[in-house]
């Protein structure tokens, strides 16, 4: 069993995706590009953009998600993490690539087949105020998936909704109430109950706690963890909150401008980040301990995240990277298994020299190594 992202994107992977032993979900070179127009004769005539403009929100992501794990997907706003989550469920249409689940490619299913599979894949949204229909009762909201997939009707459906409400820590009496009668945390629980209604395998949790108060965040994280244990759920937990990600995740994938830049075990990536962006990201997290804060050396990055419209050439991080050299502007780094089960995309490090601080200035050991090593271990 191997759960790492693989290098070669063109090979047909995922023989046993969704079966015992294999990953639950395998994402292969997934791309989501949004065309913003421009570049046509018409644009030139009316003074539009002379070049075609494309937002490469997700640009070639390859990743496996193991059954029962929580994979934390972290990155700053605009890095494409939500788009990736939505593309997996086909809520946003992928431009190319595969999403393998039970030997089927979700990215290319259509109609009834897609709907059949989607039942097992659910999502919890960030904003508990916008993701519940204000004109439906809690019973209708949580019961709707049961109806859609014809899982229960009438009394049985009501019974099931009440059970679901109790599962997420709400009173079964709430069934006739409307969303506006609840607080943010309670609404998020309703959203979770709705996702659970169809007994899914896999849930994309898209910033599920970002809109909540600190004390309520802990409640929702604990609830998600309990449900995972009880129902053997697999989560893709998307967040910009590095502390929450650290807490809930087994593995963490870091995204920057549409690409994964580092994937590793959660404890490892926080203790020993390898890729410069991850290093900066982790050093930027404020620690709730004044003693630690006083001693910490913080890496403060220059500038902002560049626009995802026509992003920088080469390594997309080179414009802000304190370690960037000329080659970084030219070569697109691949995810390489620098240490066992620890993947990073940076040409300035390699298996022999995993720590960028120790690499000779101007050297790019990753370039030499990528010619010789093969990543066929899938």
């Amino acid at each position: 069993m191997n759960l790492e992202p693989v290098q070669s994107s063109n090979r047909v992977a995922g023989q046993n995706v969704g079966q015992n032993g294999g990953p639950l979900l395998a994402i292969r070179d997934l791309k989501v590009h949004f065309d913003l127009g421009g570049g046509t004769t018409w644009d030139k005539l009316v003074g539009g953009s002379p070049v075609k403009r494309t937002v490469k929100a997700v640009d070639g992501v390859t990743l496996d998600i193991a059954r029962g794990e929580t994979l934390g997907l972290v990155g700053e706003s605009g890095c494409g993490k939500s788009t990736l989550g939505r593309a997996i469920l086909r809520l946003t249409e992928p431009t190319s690539g595969q999403v393998l689940y039970h030997n089927r490619d979700l990215a290319h299913l259509s109609g009834r087949e897609l709907r059949e599979h989607r039942r097992h894949l659910q999502i919890i949204f960030q904003d508990p105020y916008a993701s519940l229909n204000p004109r439906m009762t809690v019973g209708q909201i949580v019961g709707e998936p049961l109806e859609t997939f014809r899982l229960a009707q009438g009394k049985a459906a009501e019974q099931r909704v009440q059970e679901l409400l109790e599962t997420v820590g709400l009173s079964r009496r709430f069934i006739k109430r409307y969303p506006h009668e609840f607080s943010g945390g309670q609404r998020q629980r309703i959203g979770i109950a709705r996702a659970l209604a169809v007994d899914p395998d896999f849930i994309v949790a898209d910033e599920p706690i970002s809109a909540l108060d600190v004390s309520i965040q802990a409640q929702i994280m604990n609830l998600l963890e309990r449900l995972q244990r009880q129902k053997n759920l697999t989560y893709l937990f998307i967040s910009h909150d590095l502390r929450a990600i650290r807490h809930v995740s087994d593995r963490v994938a870091v995204m920057y401008l549409g690409k994964l830049v580092e994937v590793a075990d959660a404890a490892t990536i926080y203790r020993e980040p390898l890729m410069p962006y991850t290093k900066a990201l982790i050093s930027a997290v404020p620690v709730p301990d004044p003693e630690v804060e006083a001693k910490r050396q913080r890496i403060v990055l220059e500038g902002d995240v560049p626009s995802p419209i026509n992003p920088p050439q080469g390594c997309r991080f080179h414009t802000r990277c304190p370690f960037a050299i000329q080659a970084c502007k030219e070569v697109v780094p691949q995810l390489v298994e620098i240490k066992p089960k620890h993947w990073a995309a940076c040409i300035r490090i390699s298996r022999e020299q995993p720590h960028i601080e120790n690499v000779v200035p101007g050297d790019a050991p990753g370039l030499r190594e990528s010619n010789t090593s093969h990543y066929t271990s899938y």
């Binding site: 700053e76 706003s77 607080s183 945390g185 309670q186 108060d213 600190v214 004390s215 309520i216 965040q217 802990a218 409640q219 994280m221 604990n222 963890e225 910009h240 590095l242 502390r243 929450a244 650290r246 807490h247 404890a267 926080y270 900066a280 990201l281 982790i282 050093s283 930027a284 997290v285 404020p286 620690v287 709730p288 301990d289 004044p290 003693e291 630690v292 804060e293 006083a294 910490r296 913080r298 403060v300 990055l301 500038g303 902002d304 995240v305």
Partner: protein, 340 residues
């Protein structure tokens, strides 16, 4: 100029209430604190705890009606702001007390160039002519680390990113070299790497100018590295007040302890996260005893019946709890057991 005891700001028993249909909301209910020159004070609390209303009260920006500062004193540099006429307050607001808000997207005028918005400050408060104000605007943008400031000053707010807009806000706030800067959740809308930039910037500027800062946030991590003193608010009351290091080392209130334990520490391994049960209080309908009693894990009968005392634990450390002394002793004992 400063008052005899070295305090730039003294808040005494401030009460700000809102008269709403469903009753009187005691958003801020009897809080007191002091801020010395050059110090940074952190105010931590969840939504509805009264932390923002406290600061809007200080600069007299409470919308009235429905809001009203019912009683208390706000002594800024020896003067009670609550006794001053509006025209005098205006001379202080923006000039001597400046404020940065949470949302840099909505705090700038979208129809005005950055130059105009920055010049307004110095022209109004310091009487600069337009040439001088313009030069000052450019200088301020440079100070807050905006590259190519002379060109950027001619841009409109929408041409800046979120982090850059927050820098513009800081530039604007610091234009008149205020003695007090109030930053209300200055980094909440920003990404972590940008948050780090802004916090470093505020820290650096504070060291250069000696401005006192009040930093309002819900993030215990942010205050840990930034502040000298800390106030924890809940339901319009100060629940705990102490020097920052002391508050983190020996928290002496069940709410503070719960809050500290419910934040995952990214540097350590930990099991299940502690959770404070229940919901933040409805400030319009508070229970008779301690407002935190319904959520407290060590609640006793007395907590439900009697309002807790504000116990002084040592010179600078206070906690609003019937059992403050016991919890303080427990925290001290815990700290001695666990080597840090």
């Amino acid at each position: 100029m400063s008052s005899s005891n070295g305090n730039l700001l003294e808040i005494k028993d401030l009460r700000t209430y809102f008269e709403l249909e469903e009753g009187t909301v005691k958003a801020v209910d009897g809080i007191s604190f002091e801020l010395k020159r050059g110090e940074t004070l952190g105010i931590v609390g969840e939504s509805g705890s009264g932390k923002s209303v406290t600061n809007l009260s200080i600069i007299r920006l409470i919308p009235s009606p429905p809001g009203k500062i019912v009683s208390g004193e706000i002594i800024f540099d020896g003067q009670d702001l609550l006794l001053l006429p509006e025209s005098e307050v205006r001379k202080i607001r923006g000039r001597r007390i400046a404020m940065i808000f949470q949302d840099p997207m909505t705090s700038l005028n979208p129809f005005m160039k950055i130059s105009g918005q920055l010049m307004e400050m110095t022209q109004l408060h310091l009487g600069y002519d337009s040439t001088r104000a313009y030069e000052h605007a450019v200088k301020m943008l440079e100070t807050v680390g905006i590259p190519d400031a002379r060109a950027r000053v001619e841009n409109y707010p929408h041409e800046f990113s979120g982090g850059m807009r927050q820098r513009v806000m800081i530039a604007m706030a610091l234009s008149c070299e205020p003695e007090l800067l109030i930053a209300d959740e200055p980094t909440t809308a920003l990404d972590v790497t940008i948050q780090a930039q802004i916090l470093e910037l505020i820290k650096g500027l504070k060291e250069q100018t000696g401005t006192s800062v009040i930093l309002i946030t819900h993030d215990l991590g942010v205050v840990a590295g930034m502040t000298d003193h800390l106030i924890v608010m809940y339901a319009g009351k100060v629940f705990e007040q102490a020097p920052t290091r002391e508050l983190f080392a020996v928290p002496s209130n069940p709410y503070t302890k719960g809050l500290l334990r419910s934040v995952p520490d990214p540097l350590t391994e930990q099991g299940a996260l502690y959770q404070i049960p229940g919901l933040p209080p409805d400030v319009a309908h508070l229970p008779p005893g301690c407002p935190f009693a319904p959520r407290c894990d060590r609640v006793q009968q007395i907590c439900r019946e009697e309002y807790p005392p504000f116990v002084q634990l040592n010179r600078d450390h206070h906690s609003l709890c019937h059992f403050a002394r016991e919890i303080y002793n427990e925290s001290v004992a815990e700290r001695n057991v666990v080597p840090t």
